[in-house]
Symmetry: C2
Subunit: 186 residues, 2 copies
């Protein structure tokens, strides 16, 4: 995990942005390069191919998120709020499409693998987070999958609605957390 040159960092930023706006096939190398303010050929010199650039971009995304989920503070409600805010920020940057790309880009094995690993890693971290609060007696026991779906699902849904509709119903974070806690507290 070496540091990124500014050129590489700008390409990754631009790639993430465009991924969110247009999806995998819609994010063209020309446009990524233009948005990053570099020549298209530089993209290929640095990353070799579009698939590899996007795989890198996906790998880098979400480090802060894992950081929080890996270290529960003991204050469940506060942690949930932080996670929700972080996750929402990521979704706005196209994180939602991580999922979709997995199908859209199914033909690029390298990209698919990177996506799968990134997502799986996060899920494991998040599962550990919920298990911690289950063990602490604050959340009901049972499958952590149910907690993951219940907590992140509404965030994802709100983000997808926002992408698809002009006047999408907004998600009230406080209400969401309130409902989640009511539904799943021990």
């Amino acid at each position: 995990m070496h540091l990124l040159s500014s050129t590489e960092a700008r390409l990754i930023e631009a790639a993430l942005d465009l991924l969110g706006e247009r999806g995998y096939k819609g994010a063209t190398t020309r446009e990524i390069a233009a948005r990053a303010g570099v020549a298209e050929v530089t993209l290929f010199r640095r990353f070799g191919s579009k698939a590899r650039l996007l795989a890198e971009a996906v790998r880098r995304a979400g480090a802060a998120f894992k950081e929080v989920a890996a270290h529960p503070s003991g204050d469940l409600r506060a942690d949930l709020r932080t996670l929700a805010e972080l996750y929402r920020g990521q979704l706005q940057r196209g994180g939602a499409l991580v999922f979709v790309m997995a199908s859209e880009a199914a033909r690029e094995p390298e990209l698919r693998r990177a996506l799968g690993e990134a997502l799986a890693g996060r899920l494991v971290t998040v599962a550990g987070f919920f298990k911690y609060y289950q063990a602490a007696g604050e959340l009901r026991g049972g499958e952590t999958a149910a907690l993951i779906h219940a907590f992140f699902g509404p965030l994802i849904a709100a983000s997808l609605f926002g992408v698809a509709l002009e006047r999408a119903p907004a998600l009230d974070l406080e209400a969401h957390i309130e409902g989640f806690l009511r539904g799943w507290s021990a």
Copy 2:
């Protein structure tokens, strides 16, 4: 809304399938036609363009769903179960990508409009459904948006995880409904 010829019906089926598997740009007219068992040129004769075919496909999808949501039975839990099952079935057929296409296909105004209308129509229907049970005193008052996100979000999340991962955590429908009712019952 005239009836579909079998050719048209098969094209729409195939389009919906491939949309789910590959996304908008990934679903090529060649492959759609092949899966439908017709010549590619027939697709263009019938629908004029790829965008119009997909817009039609999206429009037709989900009639059964609206049917249920528009007529609450009075038994909230049973209705929720039916809706969840119907919705999950649709998501498996690529319904989740309806959202994503909206960004991926942002350049096709006709498709984007059809998607927006289809989605907006459903949201209105579903909002009405929840309002009915709020008025009946079974669900807490407040924004119906929160209920929509809380109920459908987890279904969407589970579907997206399933697309992206080989061994995705499954969603236990009963547990989901249970948690939802706990969290949002009056």
